[in-house]
Symmetry: C2
Subunit: 111 residues, 2 copies
């Protein structure tokens, strides 16, 4: 599991990653945390939101950490806009690589 992060942001050095750097184990691992699941749920409608607009009950730095995990797994994109980072779900890339996965996860999360 352990992988030293040496690569450039969105590109992962994962053994079984596809052409676009998406690895199933990495994606599932990123989604296996309730907080990150909540983040993804809130972005499910395709909206683009700033990091600070998420009201999870955790410290700023912890939030940032979870965003990092999601971006590095290829689940989210982060776009800089002034002093704000806009986060967005990579629904198309995810759907292309793992058809049906995102919908299944999102469907199962709001029960």
């Amino acid at each position: 599991m352990g992988a030293l992060q040496v690569l450039s942001a969105e590109q992962e050095a994962d053994p079984d990653a596809g052409p676009d750097g998406l690895s199933l184990a990495l994606v599932l691992g990123a989604l296996s945390d309730p907080i990150r699941l909540a983040i993804v749920s809130e972005l499910a409608d395709g909206s683009e939101r700033s990091c600070g607009s998420f009201d999870l009950g955790i410290a700023k730095s912890t939030r940032s950490h979870h965003f990092n995990v999601l971006v590095e797994a290829g689940i989210l994109t982060r776009r800089v806009e002034g002093r704000i980072r806009k986060l967005k779900l990579r629904r198309d890339a995810l759907e292309a690589r793992f058809p049906g996965l995102l919908d299944a996860v999102l469907g199962g999360s709001r029960r």
Copy 2:
């Protein structure tokens, strides 16, 4: 493992688990390991196999550990038959709780 086992084998004490004890985060966490993904893949056809019939390149005890994780997440059942434990995928329960998830995961794993 972490939790003290006070419940009856298949019942987990997970905060956001459904009636049948299946929790999305727990299931995704269990599937986020390449070895466990391989185990589930091999059971995808609904067959019932003994623990020893899996040729993963790891120690017996490690194998046993991974089977435990999968059973405790509600993904597999373990049935004792003589000195052999037969493992089987809980496809129906999984499908009922997280429709489409298993197929999406299995589809994405054999690329």
